[in-house]
Subunit: 221 residues, 2 copies
């Protein structure tokens, strides 16, 4: 009779009766986000999930498919919690301050679990050598937000609520800071206390928003 204890997953989560496929998925998310895709072996994932490496191939065709599944999961979750357009235009009437506050909040709400946070880092890490991920980053996390904010600034200018500055430039002024904070939190400072880093990041974003608002608001006198 063999001992099974050696194969027990180090991750407490995976000791539960979660389906094997989910154990594999979660273990992969955990390890990929820590060390990057290349530095994690199928053996490691299997060990973390508490199974043998051969068994992984009963659930995922190969290692790359596993990564693809993770990215697809992120995309789905990310767009699922995308609030309808109307809710956002509601804030419009309340002036720029409210829009900015809500803008950050709504975006951050879409990464509201540890799992999503981990995949978020994985995306940042793997962007440089995975074309699918890079395309996703460019489209969904850079171009779309930029286009959205540009549109918003255009509207605000049209309604005479802010100074008539080139809305494309304003969009960059606003959103580039968010990208900087992603890079800062998820790559430059990641090993340190993550929650603290995020808290600091949100404070920085608030400062940034206030400064930008002050720069473009119309003088009341």
């Amino acid at each position: 009779m063999k001992k099974n204890s050696e194969n027990k997953a180090t991750n407490i989560q995976n000791k539960t009766k979660k389906p094997t496929k989910e154990k594999i998925f979660d273990s992969a998310v955990d390890l990929f986000s820590k060390k990057g895709y290349n530095d994690v072996s199928i053996r490691e994932i299997a060990k973390e999930a508490g199974i043998r490496e051969g068994s992984i191939y009963n659930h995922y065709k190969n290692k790359e498919t596993l990564l693809d599944a993770i990215i697809e999961y992120f995309k789905t979750e990310f767009n699922k919690s995308n609030k309808p357009e109307e809710e956002f235009t509601d804030f419009m009437s309340q002036g720029p301050e409210v829009i900015f506050e809500e803008g950050v909040r709504l975006y951050m709400e879409r990464i509201n679990t540890r799992k999503m946070e981990k995949i978020w880092r994985l995306i940042c890490i793997e962007t440089y050598h995975n074309d699918k991920i890079r395309e996703f980053f460019n489209e969904e996390l850079l171009e779309k937000p930029l286009a959205g904010w540009e549109e918003l600034f255009k509207t605000l200018i049209g309604k005479n609520m802010i100074k008539p500055v080139n809305p494309r430039i304003l969009a960059y002024e606003y959103w580039s800071f968010a990208i900087f904070l992603f890079f800062d939190c998820y790559i430059l400072k990641y090993d340190d206390d993550f929650d603290f880093c995020m808290k600091e990041g949100l404070e920085k974003m608030t400062n940034h928003t206030k400064f930008l608002l002050e720069s473009i608001k119309l003088r009341t006198n």
Copy 2:
């Protein structure tokens, strides 16, 4: 008699009579910056350098030492072209516009060769899983510039040349955009025409600088 042609380096540079150690170094820079440290083998580097893999170990103890040497080279070159403090304070008297223009130019001048550009990308890529590189990025490319600009803004405020906004926040407003552009050029858009991307990046930086300047300049009336 064997044919040597198969082992010829694909890199034209390495066909010249450059010392072997330099050929290895340059090949490594080239490949590491393209595919990342993990995705490049000693075999590949040797092939690119036009030698056998065993010969590499006559010049570098191991693969990691080779990476370390590249980072050290970057650090040295980067600080070598660091202009003396006086030159910068000279611009001070000429007002904020000149300072901002020169600030970007002086910084970009320090990465003035293809080799330095490549290592720059390598640093961006490897920051997430190499502690030495990450420390360098945090210190030399984030904290030091931030501290420098904070000091500058403090001085400008003291001289009554700009609005009295928190200089730390101003430093972030200014420099975070540069970090964003690094990320944009060296990771998000890298495969596309690099020179074009850099040109666009510098234009964006100019727009950013102009906007910031407009935001903090004292009203003349």
